[in-house]
Subunit: 262 residues, 2 copies
Amino acid sequence: MAKAYERIADDLRSSIRAGQLKPGDRLPAETKLVERYGKTLPTVREALRLLRDEGLIDKQHGRGNFVRRPRTKVLRTNARHQWEKDRAREPERERQQTGATEHDTGLQVNDLVFYAVYRDVEAKGELAEAFGLPEGTTLVERSYRTRYAAESAPFNLVTSYLPRDLVAENPDLLDETREPWPGGTQNQLFTVGIELDRIEERVTARPPTPEEAEELELPAGTAVLLLRKTSYDTEGRVVEISDVTLPGDRTEVLFTTPLERW
Amino acid sequence: MAKAYERIADDLRSSIRAGQLKPGDRLPAETKLVERYGKTLPTVREALRLLRDEGLIDKQHGRGNFVRRPRTKVLRTNARHQWEKDRAREPERERQQTGATEHDTGLQVNDLVFYAVYRDVEAKGELAEAFGLPEGTTLVERSYRTRYAAESAPFNLVTSYLPRDLVAENPDLLDETREPWPGGTQNQLFTVGIELDRIEERVTARPPTPEEAEELELPAGTAVLLLRKTSYDTEGRVVEISDVTLPGDRTEVLFTTPLERW
DNA sequence: GAGTGGTCTAGACCACTGT
DNA sequence: CAGTGGTCTAGACCACTCC
């Protein structure tokens, strides 16, 4: 015998999948569902919680339960890396026009609000290992937030690390007030003589922490994509690592792998 | 004033993050937590549900609540595509040795259990569009499940589509009993004269559907990675599309982007 | 059988939304 | 103010685990 709250959830889920309840539609009030299914309120609410956790409905206090609308996607491609590399040696006037984020989103610089904080940290454990540096090495930790001017939530959370010694010869690279830097990280590295050879990106997914859900304004029933970007220079050194947290319900990461011809 | 169940969840979450409760540790019984926090059982259970949905704890009926251990990762790289292409023209004896999954996991062919089902479907809506084919075009839909011999859950769910006309000249390609095919899809396409030029992979994340959670044996508080792989041949045609569902808590997708030298 | 979590009932009171 | 969802209490009974 199926559990009562599962029966109710299954029934409502079918209605949504079959399109009898369309995105944006309000579900019957919880008290109506109590009548319809002959169960008590907590049981009905348990069913609705399942659907919310699956990302199928939004609960709105005082208004009702609504079938969720899919969010429009932001595409992030790996073509951005070559594009940024090509830009890195151009004159500042060129570099100021547009950045990698604009390249991805198709937006203008003025549509975006940008915010950066730098601080020094010591490389520890997993991070020291990823850099191939001894524990305790000083890193510059740079936190970035970028959002649409018209929205309140940033569309990603970025924490980037650079070995301090590698970039210290250009003091501007230690100064957060120089952000947003025209030409991005690859131009910053170019100013201290570093050329990138390749970029590795590792992607996983998990539910958001409460802090992430808060900052990205994620509704319940969404996941985050975690992307760790590791940049190697032409001497094989790891010169930068970025951890990027992306809302799973609005982000699509696109990677193109070219193949050698026969 | 913070809500009671959030206070309890915050308190337990802090203990877990600070390491006072380590992975594998059992939390105090729910009745003990009722005493400790001076709240009723449903309130305590609400707090524990939050932690479960965040993937921090596992609830085990009759045993207790336990701090979750991280699962070991399966790595899927984009180097597999060039690797598979190189293999595609080799003699069958070579191709039989090992496949792309073994290449990713480092396992032997005998460690894996493989299962495939083929059927014909009509391209509709989004799928027809992705192929650039008219709606109603016949596709071969191929469903794959691969799992470790020692485990019961597959480590991914794959649905692959091929335009039927493109591959029908080799009847073996319509025969599911020929799977697992030595050399994989790229060799299958090679037998009908198709060479791949590039592969695009789009990645998103979301909570699992109940069906996915069931088949992949996902505990609550995990997410799935969705990967859509689109293969283009040397004439620019889309010749294959695969939708892959991967458990977010055990899969890491690694993409390497090489950059042109200055 | 003792201990633990899972399901469900019945109902009180609070908080938010829209008229 | 009416309608809706959010929080919390109090307690019954069931199901699973382990000794």
